[in-house]
């Protein structure tokens, strides 16, 4: 325990400096895709039962269950804090045979870099959690390499990664394969089976997503990594930046010199890794594969498009920047080696080299100060106005609600500092909640740019869009089975469909009951999820098998007590 105290101190300090405003304040961080509500309603989509693409399955289900017991704001705090602690302590364990300052260098680089900043600011907290699980995947891989029968940590790490997001699950399989597999073919088969079972949580809903209209046209180019500065895309990626969403890029990443200094840090880490002992090839291969995967849509978007046309489910992989996560792991290990090498060069005549060791520890922070204290104030906490709870109390479990304004799934509420955020209504309200999830992306085209429109994946959303364009939208919505229209005010002008009773009219929300002016069609297949028995059996079985693997793996670890014996 005493040995881990510095790791806990450094990790805790990093987590506190990054998450400080959230941890000490009340309310939520609501930004981009990060939407937590006080009590997240349960819906079949959280398990992937509704036929839509499983982007947050089953994490949304877990959050829904957690918020039934704890306040949503506390759940958010615990998840983010837990993620940082798991990541920092995990990477410290990966380089556990090094001195404390080397472990500290690994912790700061792993927890404080552009990838973490950009994923936090885009609101992809579950993918961030998946990133923080990666060191534990590496630890499990090392154990698997030493003993091909020591499969239980790998099983647990794989399931936890897959729970975070599909891409996290895939990355965990890649990390485990590169770092953990040897010549023992039985281990290959064992890993293949574990990887398949662990990822059934999202694989089964993805394969059975027959109601979703998946398009890959233009998405790989639109979501490809981008250059943040004049140093170019490759320099951005090598220094763990380059997200497609340029609006969230911190100022430091737009400065060529800082990006080049960050690249230099990466090169130093990779160079140190190259000069380290056995196992270096695996780490370097992992870093190379990660970089190549992130760079592929930049240099070969047509190839990805062609692959996506043949296998539409590849759309899940469209945001290639996220696949840089394993490179973060590799660079952190390299940074620990760098600090170790610098220490080895210290002699009585060169004691000032201790300052370079210190620089290795704090360099990631110096290069990206914007990550401190809620992204330098970008992430202020917010609380939902009482109106949201009032409206939620009026909508029933078996009813459908259409949320306006139509045309975007993102909102900029005045109570949330006008920050763009995914509409919270589907998490706040009971029943079926339909929002327009059309995505528009600007893609550079020579000297100009072109807007790529990714249409809604859900045919029910398309049907509602058509109904809203009808001469009598209220009647058209009733014919689809929609009872409620919720208008979120204060952003763009909203024309409410006439032919309904306004049952709530506040400063920010208006709720219209269409049933007051006519009968609502009782046809659940139009706007409500069509959950066939077959899909229910498949999806639940997938979740069940993954949970079983997790429980068996965890039980095996506890039973063998092997956690302590294999940590060296």
């Amino acid at each position: 325990m005493k040995r881990h105290a510095p790791d806990l101190a450094v990790t805790g300090l990093v987590a506190l400096v990054v998450l400080g405003p959230l941890l000490i304040g009340s309310g939520f961080w609501i930004v981009g895709d990060m939407v937590f509500v006080p009590d997240q309603q349960w819906r079949p989509a959280w398990l992937g039962l509704d036929g839509s693409l499983p982007r947050a399955v089953p994490m949304d289900a877990l959050v829904s269950v957690a918020t039934a017991v704890l306040p949503g704001a506390l759940v958010q705090k615990l998840l983010l804090l837990g993620g940082f602690l798991a990541g920092g302590l995990g990477i410290a364990r990966v380089v556990g045979d090094r001195a404390w300052f080397a472990r500290a260098a690994a912790i700061t680089l792993f927890c404080w870099n552009p990838w973490v900043y950009e994923r936090l600011l885009i609101g992809q907290w579950a993918i961030l959690l998946g990133y923080f699980v990666l060191p534990w995947v590496a630890v499990a891989a090392r154990r698997l390499r030493r003993d091909a029968t020591d499969w239980s940590p790998a099983a647990v790490a794989l399931v936890l990664s897959a729970i975070c997001s599909p891409s996290s699950g895939l990355m965990a399989v890649g990390v485990l394969a590169v770092l953990g597999l040897g010549r023992d073919r039985r281990a290959w088969w064992r890993l293949a089976v574990m990887a398949l079972v662990a990822n059934l949580t999202w694989l089964v809903p993805a394969v059975t997503a027959d109601s979703a209209r998946i398009t890959t046209e233009g998405v790989f180019e639109g979501f490809a990594a981008r250059a943040e500065s004049g140093a170019g895309t490759l320099a951005s990626l090598l220094s763990l930046g380059g997200i497609w969403k340029t609006s969230i890029v911190p100022g430091e990443r737009e400065a060529v010199l800082l990006v080049l200094l960050s690249c230099a840090l990466s090169v130093v880490a990779l160079r140190a890794l190259w000069g380290s002992g056995s196992g270096r090839a695996r780490w370097l291969v992992l870093g190379g594969l990660s970089l190549a995967l992130a760079f592929l849509p930049v240099i070969a978007p047509d190839l990805m498009e062609a692959a996506g046309s043949a296998v539409p489910q590849l759309a899940l992989l469209r945001d290639s920047h996220r696949f840089l996560a394993p490179l973060g792991l590799v660079l952190a290990v390299g940074m620990a080696q760098t600090a170790t090498d610098l220490r080895a060069r210290i002699t009585p005549e060169t004691t000032a080299l201790w300052s370079s060791v210190a620089l290795a520890v704090i360099a990631p922070v110096l290069l990206l100060p914007s990550l401190a204290w809620g992204a330098a104030g970008e992430l202020e906490t917010s609380s939902y106005p009482q109106e949201w709870s009032d409206v939620a109390a009026l909508v029933g479990d078996d009813e459908a609600t259409v949320v306006l304004p139509w045309g975007s799934a993102y909102r900029s509420f005045d109570w949330n500092h006008r920050r763009a955020v995914l509409d919270p209504a589907p998490r706040f309200l009971r029943g079926t909640v339909l929002i327009d999830d059309t995505v528009r992306i600007e893609v550079s085209e020579g000297s100009g740019s072109e807007t790529v429109i990714v249409p809604p994946e859900d045919p029910r959303v398309v049907a509602v869009g058509t109904a809203l364009a009808e001469e009598d939208p209220a009647a058209a919505l009733r014919a689809l089975g929609v009872r409620w229209v919720l208008a979120e005010q204060g952003m763009v002008a909203i024309t409410l469909p006439s032919g309904g009773e306004v049952v709530h009219e506040g400063d920010r929300l208006t709720l219209v009951d269409l049933a007051a002016a006519g009968p609502v069609a009782d046809d659940p297949s139009v706007v409500r999820p069509d959950i066939t028995v077959r899909r229910r059996i498949f999806v639940i079985s997938g979740h069940g098998l993954a949970i079983l693997l997790l429980l068996v793996g965890a039980t095996w670890i506890l039973r063998s007590g092997s956690n302590e014996r294999h940590t060296a």
């Binding site: 600011l121 639109g222 969403k245 340029t246 609006s247 969230i248 911190p250 100022g251 430091e252 737009e254 400065a255 010199l257 800082l258 200094l261 005549e349 060169t350 004691t351 000032a352 080299l353 300052s355 370079s356 620089l359 360099a363 110096l366 290069l367 990206l368 100060p369 914007s370 330098a376 104030g377 970008e378 304004p405 045309g407 975007s408 993102y410 909102r411 900029s412 500092h417 006008r418 920050r419 763009a420 059309t438 995505v439 528009r440 992306i441 600007e442 807007t451 952003m491 763009v492």
Partner: protein, 45 residues
């Protein structure tokens, strides 16, 4: 030797702090809010 090392490391660190600090402060308010008109194309910003 120690003076040379300390000078190099100090210069590197102070340059980084200066440039990063200036850029962080200059861009501090650039992404705070999104106008309502931009919401439909929020994803491309």
């Amino acid at each position: 030797m120690n003076i040379i090392i300390a000078t190099i490391v100090g210069a590197l660190a102070s340059t980084t702090v200066l440039i990063a600090g200036v850029n962080a402060v200059q861009n501090g308010d650039s992404q705070q809010s999104v106008s309502s008109e931009q919401l439909s194309s929020y994803s491309d910003q």
